[in-house]
Symmetry: D2
Subunit: 381 residues, 4 copies
Amino acid sequence: MSAAGEPTTPTPLGVAMIGYAFMGKAHSQAWRNVAAYFDVPAVEQRVLVGRDAEQVAQAAARFGWAEAATDWHEVIARDDVHIVDICAPGSLHAEIAVAALEAGKHVLVEKPLANSLAESERMVAAARSAREHGVQSMVGFNYRRVPALAYARRLIADGRLGTIRQVRASYLQDWLADESAPMTWRLRKETAGSGALGDIASHAIDQIQFLLGDTVTDVSGRLHTFVGRRPGDGGLENVTVDDAAWATLSLSGGALASVEVSRVALGRKNSLQIEVYGSRGALTFDLERLNELQFLDGAAPDAEQGFRRIVVTEPDHPYAGAWWPPGHVIGWEHTFTHQIQDFLICIRDGTAPSPSFEEGLQVQRVLAAIEQSDAAKSVRL
Amino acid sequence: MSAAGEPTTPTPLGVAMIGYAFMGKAHSQAWRNVAAYFDVPAVEQRVLVGRDAEQVAQAAARFGWAEAATDWHEVIARDDVHIVDICAPGSLHAEIAVAALEAGKHVLVEKPLANSLAESERMVAAARSAREHGVQSMVGFNYRRVPALAYARRLIADGRLGTIRQVRASYLQDWLADESAPMTWRLRKETAGSGALGDIASHAIDQIQFLLGDTVTDVSGRLHTFVGRRPGDGGLENVTVDDAAWATLSLSGGALASVEVSRVALGRKNSLQIEVYGSRGALTFDLERLNELQFLDGAAPDAEQGFRRIVVTEPDHPYAGAWWPPGHVIGWEHTFTHQIQDFLICIRDGTAPSPSFEEGLQVQRVLAAIEQSDAAKSVRL
Amino acid sequence: MSAAGEPTTPTPLGVAMIGYAFMGKAHSQAWRNVAAYFDVPAVEQRVLVGRDAEQVAQAAARFGWAEAATDWHEVIARDDVHIVDICAPGSLHAEIAVAALEAGKHVLVEKPLANSLAESERMVAAARSAREHGVQSMVGFNYRRVPALAYARRLIADGRLGTIRQVRASYLQDWLADESAPMTWRLRKETAGSGALGDIASHAIDQIQFLLGDTVTDVSGRLHTFVGRRPGDGGLENVTVDDAAWATLSLSGGALASVEVSRVALGRKNSLQIEVYGSRGALTFDLERLNELQFLDGAAPDAEQGFRRIVVTEPDHPYAGAWWPPGHVIGWEHTFTHQIQDFLICIRDGTAPSPSFEEGLQVQRVLAAIEQSDAAKSVRL
Amino acid sequence: MSAAGEPTTPTPLGVAMIGYAFMGKAHSQAWRNVAAYFDVPAVEQRVLVGRDAEQVAQAAARFGWAEAATDWHEVIARDDVHIVDICAPGSLHAEIAVAALEAGKHVLVEKPLANSLAESERMVAAARSAREHGVQSMVGFNYRRVPALAYARRLIADGRLGTIRQVRASYLQDWLADESAPMTWRLRKETAGSGALGDIASHAIDQIQFLLGDTVTDVSGRLHTFVGRRPGDGGLENVTVDDAAWATLSLSGGALASVEVSRVALGRKNSLQIEVYGSRGALTFDLERLNELQFLDGAAPDAEQGFRRIVVTEPDHPYAGAWWPPGHVIGWEHTFTHQIQDFLICIRDGTAPSPSFEEGLQVQRVLAAIEQSDAAKSVRL
C-alpha cells in the first residue's frame, strides 16, 4: 500500500507460468513482447513451472523465462512472483488458481475455467474474495482480443446493427477427420470432460455473449461421435467424448444463436465463423482471416447495400494502432498479447478484468445444459 | 399406344400451366427455351390458366402461351393438353394435381407438394395409380438441377468425399428484416401453413437428401418469430408463422445435418448455402454464386489441400454443355429449364421423374416433425 | 411516316439475323425472350441466314426463327425485314452492314466493328447517312449491359468515386493454354486480324471508355505469342497473332488505365476483371461473378471503409427489376437481352443507340495504336 | 578460426541495429523472437544506433536492445558486435554497409539496396571481398520469407506449373490517395530517388525473379504522378516522384510479367498481389491474406479444376512448422523473423545468404531501366 492507502504496482511485476506446451508457448510470446507495443507496467518472466525438470528448463530458455521450477506450490509462495499464469491441464486449474489467489497473486487461467461446475464455483468464490483485496483474476478467452471481434462488439454496442436477432457461430476443425488418428486423453470423458463441446464450443459461446453483451438463458443441443473407436496402445479403444456438437441458444435480449462445432470437418483447420444479423445491420467473421470483418450497414440505400470487407488494421481499430501501418496484418498469437495487455492495465488500475471467473462459470453452465439437453429424445419419422 | 404396345409421345406435347405469378413467369421461361438448348420432345405452350381473365390474357401474351383460360377444370379435360404444370398456391395443389392425373395428364407441381400431410398423401396415391398407366408426375425442387449441385451429388456418389459425416445447410433471406414490412397471407398459418420452414427449409431438406442419396430418420428443431406483429389493413396484426427455423437431422447412413433458415437475415438475399464434410473430401456451395462449387479433395497431400473453386461450366458438368463456352455463367432461371428437360425426357422414355410425389411427401414429413419437436422444452439455465 | 411526318415503328418489327454459331445462338436467345421481360416494340424472328442450307434450317428451327435463307442480299431487300442483326465473321461486317443500312434497315453488328480501320470508316460513313433518315445502328459491346457495370457507370457519373485516377482491366481466358490445341482461322493474322487483342482487349477498352465516359488519347503496349506453332492439317503451322497483350492508356480526363489480356491464362475461363480507383471511391468487378459489384466508399470513416459486395439484383439496379426477386442471379446471356431491349427502344423513339459505329471505330483505333506501339523497342538490361 | 581452420561462430553473436523507425521496430521483433521458434545460433541484441540520443535510448528499452548509441562508426568497430543490421534511410546504406563489411561484420541491409546504381555497385564490390573471408551479407526483401510465397517457389521449381508464361504482379496502397496528405521527403526525387517505383515495385520485381528463379532481360514502363502538388510547410510544393508505375518485363526463360504499383489505389492498404500462369498450373497470392495461396493444378480433369485456397500453415509448408497448429495464422512481422533465421543459419554454416547484394543490384537495374523506358513516347491517337 502507498502512503495514501492506494495499492502500488510492484515494479517490475514478476510472472510465473505453469505449463509450457501449446498454450505455454503462446502465452510466453505475449509476456515477451507486450511491452514492445503497449504501455504496460514493467513485467519480468521470472519462472516457468513444469513436471519434467529437464524439459521445463529447455522451454524456459527458449521462451525467455529466467528460471525453471517443478513445484508450483513453492513458486506461488515466492515474494518476487506477483502474477500466476496457469496453462496447465484443466483438471489442475482449480487447485492452482485457488491457492495462488489465496497467496495474493493475480491469476490468469486458460479456458475452460475448469473441468467441472463444482471446481468452477470454488474458483469463483476464491476470485471474489481476492478481488476485495485488489487481487485480480481472468479467464483466457483470447478471441475477445481479436481486433476484428472487439471492433464488432463496438459496432453492436453503438447500435449500428440495431436489435440483434440471429447469431450463427461455428467452430470447425479437422484434426480428428482421419479415423486412424490415435486415441489420446482428449478423447476420454474422464480426463477431458467433453470433446469439441468444451474445447471449442466454449469459445463460440463466450464470443456470442461478449459480442452481444448479453447472457444465454436456455439451450437445446445435440452431441455426436462419428468415429467411435480409435487405435490406442493396446488396440482399438472407445472414444467417450463428442466429435461434434450443435446447439441453439436463447439470449435474454431476445436474440437466438446457433452453435455448431466439429473436429472432423475436413478442410477446416481453425475456422471460428460468426455471423450476426440485426434489424439495421449485419456482420460476419472467420478466424482463418482474423484481420478482416465483413460489415453490412442496413442504413444504406438498398442498391448500395453489401457486406464490406474491413481490414481491421486502422489506427482507430481496437489494439491495431500499436502494430504496423494499415494493411500489415497480425497473427493469431497476438490475441494473447492483447489479453496480457488488458490484464496488466487492470492490475495497474485496480479494476476487474473481463472475462472474469464468473463469466467463465457462465460458459460452463451453458455447456452443461447442452449436454443435459442432448439426453432429450429427438422426433423419429 | 403404338402398334407394338409402346406408348408414343404425342407431337407436339401440349402444355397447360396454372398460375402466372413469380413461379409462372419462371416456368414459362423454361417452356419457351428448353428446346433451343436440349434435345427434348416437341412441346407447345397451349394455354395459361388464371382467375382474372384480363390479367391472365396479358400474361399469356407476354410469356408465350397461345391461349388464356380461367377454368382449370375445362383445361385439364382438353385433348390437346398432355402436361399440366401447377404453379397455383399450395392450397390448390392437391385438387388440381389429382384431377389432372386422373385425366391422364402428366403433372409437374411446384414445391412444397401441398400444405398438409393428408393432401400430400392423396397426391401420392394418385401419382402411383397414374404411373401404372405411363402418366408421370414430379415435384419442383428445382435446385436439384443447379449444375453445381448435380455435380456435387455425382462427386459424393462416386465416393470422392468418402463417408459423409456432417452437413450444414442454411437458407437465408432478408425480405422480412424490416419490421414495417406489411402483413400478407404468407405470414398467417391458416393460409401459408408455415413460414420460412415450409418455404425455404423444404429446399434445404430436399437438397440434403438429394446430395447424399439418403433419408432423414429423426429430427430435433426450433422455430421462432422475431417480428410478432406487422401492419395490416386495419392496424397491427399477429404474425402466426415462423421467421426462422433451426433443426438437426439424422440420416439413415449415419450423417448428421444442421439446417438453419431465416427471412430476417439482413444482407442475405437468396443465400442457400450447403457444406458437406466426408471422411475423404468436402464441398461447399452458395446459391448466390450458383455457377461455382468449392471442392476439397482429402486424397491430396496435406500441403496441397484446399477448397478449390470449380466454375461449373465445363462440357463435362451436368447440363452445362448445352449452354455457352466455359466461364460464361448461367442464371437462376435455368434450374427450371433443366427441370423441364428432365421431365420431358422421362415422359418420352416412360420412366419415373425424380423428385417424385413420394419424395415431396417425405420432405413434408420432416417439416412436420420439426414443428412437433419445437414443442419440446429446451433446458433453462 | 405518320400523318405528322414522324416515323412510325412497323408492328411487328421483322428481324433477320446473319450467322448462327456462338453469337447467333446468344442473339437468338435475346430476340426470343426480350418481350417477356421488357416493354419493347413487338418483334418477329423472321429469317435466319447462313451459307449451308441444311444447317441454317436446323438452327432456325431450334432458335425460333420462322424461316431460313442462304442469300443475305435477298434477305435485306425484303419489305418485312426491318432489322438486320449481323453475327457473321468480322471480314463480312462492312459489306453486309453498309448494304443493309443503304436498304434502310436498322443494323446491329457484333464486335469488333470490322477487321480493318478502312472498313470501319466505311461503316461509320454509312451509319451517319442512315441516321439522318431515322435508320439506327449499333455495335454489340454487350458487356455495357451487365447490370453491375451499368450500375458502376452510374456511380462514377454521380461522382461517388470522385476523380478517376487509375483503372485496371484484364480479360483472361485459357482455351489456348494447351499447346496441342489445333491451328484455326482465329490464329492467322490474315483471317482474324489479331489475337487476344481484337477479340477480348476490345471489350476491355470499350468498357473503360464506357465506365469513365471518357476517351483514350494515347497508348503504349506490347503483344506476345507464347505458343508459336500449333498442329494444323499438314503438320505444325505458325501462329501469326498474339496470345496475350498488355497496354497502358491515357484518358483525356487524366486517368491512366492498364489492360492485360490473354488466352493462355490457365484456370481463367472468362474472367474480365475491372478495378477503378478514384479520389473518393473505388470499385471492382469480375465477369465470372457478373451479378456482383464491389464498391468502396471513401467518404466513410477510415475504420468503416471496405469493399462491399453488392449483389446487383435490386429493383433499383439497371435492368434488374425486370427479372427475379433480389438474390436470384441472372446469366451471361442476358447482356444480349438487355442490348436488344435498348436497341429496340432507340428504334421506337428514333434516338441513336450507343455504342454507335463511331464508338466501335474509336476502339479499333486504340487497338491499332497498341499494335503500332509494340513495334517500339523496350529497354534491354 | 578453429584449430581445423574452420570459422567458428562467436557465441552469442552480438547484433547492432542502425535505425529504429518502422523497419527498426519490425527487425527488433525478429531479433527478439527468432530463437523461441527456430534453432539458430545464440544472438544478443547488443546496441541500437540512432541520431537522437534520447529517442534511441527509449526505443532500445522498448524493443529489447541492451544499449543505445548515436555513432555508428564506433559501434561497428566494437569487438562484441558481429552483425550489423541497417534500417537507416537508403541514402546511408552504402556508407554504413561498406564500412561494416570492411570491419568484418556480417551485414543485413533493408531494401532497396541503395538510392543509386553507383552506390549499389560499391556495395556489391564490398560484399564480394568480404564473402571471401566468410563475412556474409544480405538485402532485406522480406517477402521471400512469406511461407505462401516460399511454397509457391517450391511448386514452380518442382514443375507443378510447367513452363511459366505470364506473371501479373501488383502492389497497391492508398496512403497518398488523399490529395491533402502533406509533402514529405518521400515525395522528393533528391531524397527518395523515386516514388512507388523504388518503394514497392522493387518488392514486386524481386518477387517475380525469386518465384521463377529467373532474371529480367528487358523492360518497358511508364510512371505517373496523379497529385502533382501537395501542402508543405510554406504552401503547395511540387511532388517530384511517381505515385504509380507500370511495366512489362521479359524474363530470360521466356515468361512475360506485368507490374503495376500505386500509392493512390483507394481501398488497397498493403496489397501485393501476384498471379503466375504456366502451361500446367497457376497460382495467385495477396499479401493482405498472407497465410493463403491459391493453386490450380492443370493436371486434374477439366471438370475438377479450380483455384484451391491452401492455408499455408501445415508442418510441411516452409517455416510454418515452427509456429502454431494448422489454421492458426501468422502475421506480416514474421517475414522478418524468417529472414533473420535464414541469415543466422547462413552465418553459422558459412554459406552465402540470398538475396545477395548482387540480387539487390539487379533489382535496381530493372528499376532504372523502367525509368529510362518511361522517357520513350507513347503513341497518340
